[in-house]
Structures are given as structure tokens and as C-alpha cells.
């Protein structure tokens, strides 16, 4: 990479940092328990809006995994999400009524919080409908993974977004508070993912899955990106550029091997397609606060009416991480 290019990247990163400072001004601390954070703690960052029903399971899932503290931005929820989170002993909560879209879909807010509280910690950035899966997650806490990554001098860990969906109509089975969403949305597309390399940022750009198959079969370029790098040993110089799809400096995006081998990687089970989805899609269409003017939601609604089902004969039912490993959706790399 030329000096000019690398300088341009630097400017881009500085710009993202400056932006996060400015956008971060709208964040109002509601419950600041950050004094509990000890050196070496694993921190989870999340932005949410009206996700009350998902929160109990979400928090417990990550507590069991070994996350020590949650730092959450509540984007003006009206369903009591905020009140629920205030009471959680390991959650620090900020509130903002500012535009989700103009904070680049929450990235600016979280960049701000991460540079303030995440420095020198392993940080996990996930949405409330994303469940992180990594090799051996059924027997080893996340601290085993981060210790191993530290020992291997690896700073970032990739986990592809895997869209999960139920068999039958999306709205057939209602989701209950505290329930494992994968009990309902337990199916996924095992082998139809398309990968390209983003030469500018060095990350892989992954599309495919049920959304490409059902919603965008004729305009695949519009299908959502599935590549994510949610787990990073954070440094205050770092910045997410577009959701958790890519970061700067660019070296953090090299979570894959280019010489034929496999590095270790995980999966984010994306439990978006529950009965709550149709409701959410309508709401978000009105707010128009999502990516590309809620293009995705629009495609969903249009397709939802004629075909409310993502399941097909070749869908695979989720069992555990080993199954995903065998299918080639994630890898143990050299972790054994």
C-alpha cells in the first residue's frame, strides 16, 4: 500500500474518531457502573431500541459465556427496555434520542464508548438478536478464547452473521421472554455464501444466506453483508467504520488466511426472524432509520406478503458449533 493510501486510511480513521466524539455528546448516562470494570474484563457493547422481550435471554447468554460487563446504548426505547436494564447489576446504560441513522447506525456511539471504556480490554460488539458462537463455546468460557488469542498475538476475531429462521411461517410461533430464540428459529442455510475481498479495507465481503435467496434473488448486489468482526482487543486508536463489518487500522480486518490455511473463526447466530419481525419491519419502514433507507425491510415486507417462509428442503437444523465447523461455516483454526 502506498504512503498516500495509508495516509488516506489514517485520515479516515481520524475522521471516524472525531465523528464519534461529536455524536457521543448526545449520550446521557443513565446507570454508570463502569467503576466495576476491572483490568482484563471482557466487555460487551450494544445499541438497541425496543428489544425488551429479548433482553433477559441475551444478558444471561453472555453472562454464562463469561462477559463481565455490558455497556449499552438505549436509542429511546418505549417498551421498558431502559427500565429493565437499569436494574441489572452488571449493565452500564446510556440513553439517546438522537438519530440512529445519523450516528451511522449506532457505530459512532459505540466507538465513543469503546474508546473511553474499552481500551486494553477484549470487547464484543453485538446486537440483541445476535448470539456469538466460537469453537469450543460449549466447554470453554470466552476468557479461554481471548487468552488464546492474546497468546497468539491476534487482536481481532471474525464471526460471520448466520441468519436463523423457523420452519414454517415466521409468525407461527410466538417468542416468549427469556426463551432461547434458537428453539424457534433453529434453521439456517448451510452452503450458499458468496465471498469477495474488499481491496480498500482488506476485509472479506460475504453475502448470501436466506436473505439473498428469498429477498434478493434478482438483485444479489443488494443482499446484506454478513461478514462481521465483533471481538477485538480494543485500543483507543481503533474505530469501526461500517457496523462491525470492518475496522481501521486495516490490519484488524485480516481475520482470514490467504495462503490456503484456516484461521479460527466463529459465527453470530442471527435470530432476527421471529414473530416480532413483521411488527418491527413495519415500524422501521416508518422510521426509515436503517441502512439504505430500510431497503432490506422493504424487500422483506414485499416478499413477506406472498411468501412468509424462509425455510426450504435443504435448510439445516442447528445443533452445535461442531456442526457449523464441519459444514465449513466456521473454523477451529489451530485451536485444539
Amino acid at each position: 500500500m502506498s504512503i498516500v493510501q495509508s495516509y488516506r486510511m489514517r485520515l479516515r480513521r481520524k475522521h471516524a474518531k472525531a465523528r464519534s466524539l461529536r455524536k457521543g455528546l448526545s449520550l446521557r448516562p443513565i446507570a454508570d457502573r463502569t467503576s466495576q470494570i476491572a483490568p482484563g474484563d471482557i466487555l460487551l457493547f450494544s445499541t438497541l431500541r425496543n428489544e425488551h422481550v429479548r433482553l433477559p435471554y441475551f444478558l444471561d447468554y453472555y453472562r454464562n459465556m463469561g462477559v463481565d460487563h455490558f455497556l449499552i446504548v438505549d436509542n429511546d426505547s418505549t417498551d421498558g427496555s431502559g427500565d429493565y436494564l437499569i436494574e441489572q447489576p452488571d449493565v452500564s446504560l446510556w440513553h439517546t434520542a438522537a438519530s440512529y441513522k445519523r450516528s451511522r447506525f449506532g457505530v459512532d456511539w459505540l466507538n465513543r464508548l469503546q474508546s473511553k471504556y474499552g481500551h486494553d480490554h477484549w470487547t464484543l460488539v453485538v446486537d440483541p438478536d445476535e448470539l456469538f458462537i466460537y469453537p469450543f463455546c460449549d466447554t470453554r468460557p470466552i476468557g479461554a478464547l481471548t487468552d488464546w488469542l492474546d497468546g497468539s498475538n491476534v487482536r481481532s476475531f471474525g464471526a460471520m452473521l448466520l441468519d436463523m429462521y423457523p420452519k414454517g411461517r415466521l409468525d407461527a410461533v410466538p417468542y416468549r421472554r427469556g426463551q432461547d430464540p434458537i428453539e424457534i428459529a433453529s434453521w439456517f442455510d448451510p452452503g450458499n455464501y458468496l465471498i469477495k475481498k474488499n481491496r480498500q479495507f482488506g476485509n472479506l465481503w460475504i453475502q448470501g444466506g436466506p436473505r439473498a435467496r428469498v429477498f434478493f434473488p434478482d438483485e444479489p448486489e443488494k443482499a446484506p453483508a454478513l461478514n462481521k468482526i465483533p471481538l477485538v482487543k480494543w485500543n483507543r486508536r481503533y474505530a469501526y467504520i461500517s457496523s462491525t463489518h470492518m475496522l481501521l487500522p486495516r490490519g484488524l480486518n485480516l481475520v482470514y488466511d490467504e495462503w490456503g490455511g484456516e484461521t479460527a473463526s466463529g459465527v453470530l447466530l442471527h435470530a432476527k426472524f421471529l414473530d416480532t419481525f413483521t411488527q418491527k419491519a413495519k415500524e422501521e419502514m416508518d422510521r426509515k432509520q436503517h441502512y439504505r433507507a430500510s431497503l432490506e425491510y422493504k424487500a422483506y415486507l414485499e416478499n413477506m406478503a406472498e411468501r412468509p417462509e424462509l425455510w426450504c428442503k435443504w435448510s439445516e437444523k442447528y445443533i452445535n458449533w461442531r456442526q457449523l465447523e464441519i459444514l465449513g461455516l466456521m473454523s477451529k483454526g489451530n485451536w485444539a
Partner: protein
């Protein structure tokens, strides 16, 4: 007690204390070396926590950075203290704070007591071992290494390159032959004291302090000078990955470690509570007495290294995306591409399925949709037949198809009508078996009911495309198994080439010849059709020479007796 433990400690002091208590409870004297980087307050607390134990000493502290002399210096001073303070010790066992005894200590004591003159130290000459990091084997003994590999990689590499260029070579002190091996050893008092009190020791130390990773070569080399009997293996189970970093054991390795039958394992994740609870118990939980045999664990860890370095051939995923030429297989299994066969034979796909048992698709790259077998719209892996999705990334489509159907041979049809963007990918793929009947694309035109002017322009277009494709297939970059016949050539004797192709695919059941023959389309008038094209100024040449009037090909399938090859 005849076994003394030298323990090198740098982190997780709490676990080190637990292990020290375990050794001590079995009556083994201990000398503990603590890294200088441990804060003195923590160090004092650590010393205090072990104050109640008899026969525990703390040796002079050194800085122990990976791959540096400090580790050897630490082992030296600790071993000296051990030999001086505990005269009854016969074997000295070098362990670390993250080592875990897998078998009752008494078994180790008995084992060593039965072999009073044996030194257990892995020691091999550089020429004979594959485990080298950074491409340095013999050179680690002949170059200088003043820069840290971990912290100053750039300077390290530059300086190595410079020394190679200048052909600098260090002098190896007289009489020693460099050996290397695992840094965890168990030496007898005789050998160890001979090494430590060697009159030449100062010069050896000077030499080895500039060798790269001396902790893997100092004792390993010098033990060869004095030992009466060397058993070249380590009693410590320690697995290294491809970067020279030790593999770590977790709770879920418990059964594996139980089966390992080694005396000590490293390294253990400090939070592996189940492992510590299971192995740091008294002799009551003793396991069966057997010769140490780490081979059982070998497989799992060498597989992990292979996964990291070679990966799964033909798999493209979020953490494996090889650059061109480093794919180690563009696809994961063999497959066959047939061009022109389904145009020339009426029931080719059904026949091929019967003859081979393979999965036979139509034109996967057809402009309308991917024609999966049996008219499916979605197949294995939830791969869609959408042409737009396929053409968005044709290579990923093919790689996915072959990966998703691992274990089942795939065959598909191809023609100049189809998306040609995939041509190079298939041609370069050693897994591909490509059979082409050139010019057969004219058959559908010949049979069609279109206006002749349209036929003429379509024929010109297809001929151009196929001729370009044939150039690709004949290029020197092509690695696929390619067979090309002109149409005229092929219909002269169709069974022989078919037999060859089928044999290569490997039929579902061993057959002697083909029992059934695919039905060739009616070629009556085809010569005239080609002549008409010629008369219009379009010269079809890819199908070879067809006479205008040709008795031979009048109803070829009914006229020719179906025969068996061989």
C-alpha cells in the same frame, strides 16, 4: 527422596502454588525460579504462601523472555541450588508453573528409581528434526541474534538477512555438536553436575547466550557430552503449534490427558478448574501404570496445525480465502463437464445417471436458471437456481455446489450458450474432467424451427464463443483433464470415448462395457444444413467435415447395431 523439581514460574502464581504443594506433599524438594517481571510485592506474597512447606527454595531471579538466554540462566541457577541443598536428589525434573502432574508423583519417583542412570532429554541434531520456527534450523547455531524475535521482528529478520549476505558464521566451541529438543528435561545428578561444573562452561555459556532459543539447545547439546545413557524424549507432554507456541489444555481435554499416560503435561490454562481438581489429588485416584506414550494426543494436535496451515481443500469461507494459486484445490472433489453431449444424444443425462450413478445436472450455467438435476430449484446447501445469484459470483457458485455435495460425483452440461465467465476457473481446476464435442451446439439450431437468418447469426455467435473456450482449454495453464473431439470425429466411433469417460468417473457397479447406449439424434440432412450456412457466408468449422449427402448417418442409431466395447 530421589527426585527434585525445578519449577520456572512467571504467571498464574496461584496455580503454581497449588502444583508446588502437590509435589511437596509427595516428598519432592523444590527449587522455584520466579521471573523478574513478577512485581516484588506479588513475589513476596508468593514466597510467603509457600513458607509452611519444607524443602522449598527460591533461586536467583532472571528475566525469562521467550527464546532468550534468561531461561537457561534461570534453569542453571535453580539446578545448582538444587544439587547443593538437596544431596539426596538423584534426578532433577525441570517443570514450569503451568505444568500439571498427570500421574501420582510416586509413580514418577518409582519410574526414575528403576532407571538411575538414564537422562530423559529430547535431543536431536538439527538436520533430523522438522520443528523449526522462522525457517532457522542449523543457522540458529551459526548466526548472531541480538534482537528479540517477538518484539523487534523487523530488526531480527534484517539482521539475519544481512548475516546471510555477508556469509557471517559463528565459531562453534570445540567438541560440541549442536542438538535441540524440548526444553523440559529430567537429568541425573551426574550429568547435570558435569554440565554445570565443566571447566569450559564459561565459553559454552558465552556461545549459547547468542544462539537463538538456547533453552531448546543448551542442555540438549551438553547432555550429549556427559550422559551415560540418554533417552531422547521428554517426560513432559508438551505440544507445539506451527508458530512454536505451546498448545494449551482445557477442561475438555480431561479424558485425553487421562489417556496420555505422560507424567506431566504443559501447558494448562490457569482457569481449567476441572483439570486441576482431577489431577492434583492424592494417590487414591491413581491411574493405571504404563509407559509414557504421548502419541495418542499427537493426532489431535497435528490435525489442528494442519487445519491452520493447509485448511480444507475447496472450501471458501470467512476465515479461509486463499489468493490465486494457494488454494490447494479450487474445488473439494472431482466433477465432470460435458459439452455437446446432450445436444448430440437425446437422452444423455438419464443415460449418464444410469451408467455412473453420479448426480447429473443440466446446463448449470444456462442463461435462464441453473438447471439442477430433476428440475430442483434449490439443492444441497440451499443453493438457489437463480441465474442472477449465480452470475453474481460464478466461482463461488461452483465451489459451493461441489463442497455441498461432497461424497457424490457431480456432472453437468455446458455449452457456448451458457455463462462463459466460469471457463478459466474450471480449466485451471485439476478436479475437473472436461469432455467437449466441438460444434455440437449446431444440433439444436438444426432441429429448431427458427428463421434461417436468425440461425445463421446465432451459429456465428456460438462458434466464436466455443472457439475461444477451446483456446482456453488448450492453454498451458489448463490443469483439468480435457478431451476434445470434433462432432464428425465423435460420431464415427462414439462408444470408445464414452467408455473412457465413464471408466474415469468410475461406474456405480463394475461393468464390462456399456450395457446400454445413449440414443443419438437423427442427423439426416445435417450435412446439408451446414452447407446452407456456408452458402450464407458463415463457415461452421468446429464440427469437422460433414459431406453434404451422407448415407452413413441416415438414422444412425437404428442403423447401427448397439455393441459393447471390449
Amino acid at each position: 527422596m530421589s527426585v527434585g523439581i525445578v519449577m520456572l514460574v512467571h504467571t498464574a502464581l496461584g496455580r503454581a502454588e497449588e502444583v508446588a504443594r502437590h509435589w511437596s506433599a509427595a516428598g519432592c524438594p523444590l527449587v522455584i525460579h520466579t521471573d523478574v517481571s513478577v512485581p516484588s510485592k506479588t513475589y513476596r506474597a508468593f514466597q510467603k504462601s509457600l513458607a509452611d512447606l519444607p524443602d522449598v527454595r527460591f533461586s536467583k531471579r532472571h528475566r525469562c523472555e521467550w527464546g532468550t538466554w534468561g531461561l537457561v540462566a534461570a534453569s542453571q541457577s535453580a539446578a545448582e541450588l538444587m544439587l547443593a541443598d538437596f544431596p539426596k536428589v538423584r534426578h532433577v525434573y525441570l517443570a514450569s508453573g503451568s505444568c500439571l502432574p498427570l500421574r501420582p508423583v510416586q509413580e514418577l519417583v518409582d519410574y526414575l528409581a528403576a532407571r538411575p542412570h538414564t537422562d530423559f532429554i529430547e535431543s536431536a541434531t538439527t538436520a533430523d528434526v522438522p520443528w523449526t520456527i522462522g525457517g532457522l534450523d542449523a543457522e540458529r547455531f551459526t548466526l548472531h541474534f541480538p534482537f528479540s524475535w517477538r518484539k523487534h521482528r523487523y530488526l531480527f529478520d534484517r539482521y539475519v538477512a544481512l548475516q546471510r549476505k555477508l556469509r557471517m558464521k559463528r565459531h562453534i566451541p570445540g567438541g560440541i555438536v549442536p542438538h535441540m529438543g524440548s526444553q523440559w528435561w529430567c537429568l541425573t545428578r551426574q550429568t547435570l553436575s558435569a554440565i554445570l561444573s565443566d571447566p569450559e562452561r564459561a565459553s559454552y555459556d558465552r556461545y549459547f547466550s547468542k544462539v537463538w532459543i538456547p533453552d531448546e539447545s543448551y542442555f540438549q547439546t551438553l547432555a550429549r557430552q556427559y550422559s551415560r545413557q540418554i533417552e531422547s524424549r521428554s517426560l513432559t507432554l508438551s505440544k507445539f503449534d506451527y508458530q512454536g507456541k505451546p498448545h494449551i489444555f482445557y477442561d475438555d481435554h480431561l479424558q485425553l490427558l487421562r489417556r496420555s499416560d505422560c507424567f506431566v503435561a504443559r501447558k494448562i490454562w490457569p482457569q481449567a478448574n476441572r483439570l486441576y481438581a482431577a489431577f492434583l489429588t492424592d494417590a487414591a485416584s491413581a491411574m493405571k501404570r504404563t509407559e509414557p506414550n504421548p502419541a495418542k494426543i499427537d493426532r489431535i494436535f497435528s490435525k489442528a496445525v494442519e487445519r491452520r496451515t493447509r485448511g480444507r481443500p475447496g472450501l471458501y469461507m470467512q476465515s479461509r480465502f486463499p489468493v490465486e494459486t494457494r488454494e490447494n484445490g479450487l474445488t473439494s472433489a472431482k466433477y465432470s463437464v460435458f459439452q455437446g453431449f446432450s445436444a448430440l444424444f437425446e437422452n444423455f443425462e438419464a443415460w449418464l445417471t444410469g451408467a455412473t450413478g453420479a448426480r447429473v445436472h443440466g446446463h448449470l450455467f444456462a442463461p435462464e436458471r441453473a438447471e439442477f438435476s430433476e428440475g430442483a430449484t434449490v439443492i444441497n446447501g440451499a443453493l438457489s437456481d437463480s441465474a442472477a445469484l449465480r452470475d453474481y459470483n460464478p466461482h463461488a457458485f461452483l465451489a459451493n455446489l461441489i463442497w455441498n455435495t461432497r461424497g457424490e460425483r457431480q456432472c453437468f452440461q455446458f455449452s457456448p450458450r451458457d455463462n462463459q465467465k466460469i471457463n478459466w476457473d474450471i480449466a485451471k481446476d485439476p478436479n475437473a474432467q472436461i469432455s467437449v464435442i466441438s460444434g455440437a451446439w449446431a444440433m439444436p439450431l438444426f432441429q429448431s424451427n427458427a428463421n434461417f437468418l436468425d440461425i445463421r447469426s446465432e451459429a456465428a455467435r456460438l462458434q466464436q464463443i466455443e472457439s475461444k473456450h477451446l483456446l482456453t482449454l488448450r492453454s498451458s495453464w489448463t490443469k483439468a483433464r480435457v478431451r476434445i473431439w470434433t462432432m464428425a470425429e465423435f460420431i464415427e466411433a462414439p462408444m470408445e470415448p464414452l467408455q473412457t469417460i465413464i471408466d474415469e468417473i468410475g461406474p456405480s457397479q463394475p461393468q464390462r462395457g456399456l450395457s446400454e447406449v445413449p440414443k443419438m439424434a437423427d442427423l439426416t440432412g445435417f450435412g446439408q444444413f451446414l452447407q446452407n450456412l456456408k452458402n450464407q457466408g458463415m463457415h461452421p468449422y468446429l464440427m469437422g467435415n460433414f459431406p453434404v449427402v451422407h448415407d452413413l448417418h441416415e438414422a444412425p442409431t437404428s442403423a447401427r447395431k448397439p455393441y459393447l466395447v471390449r
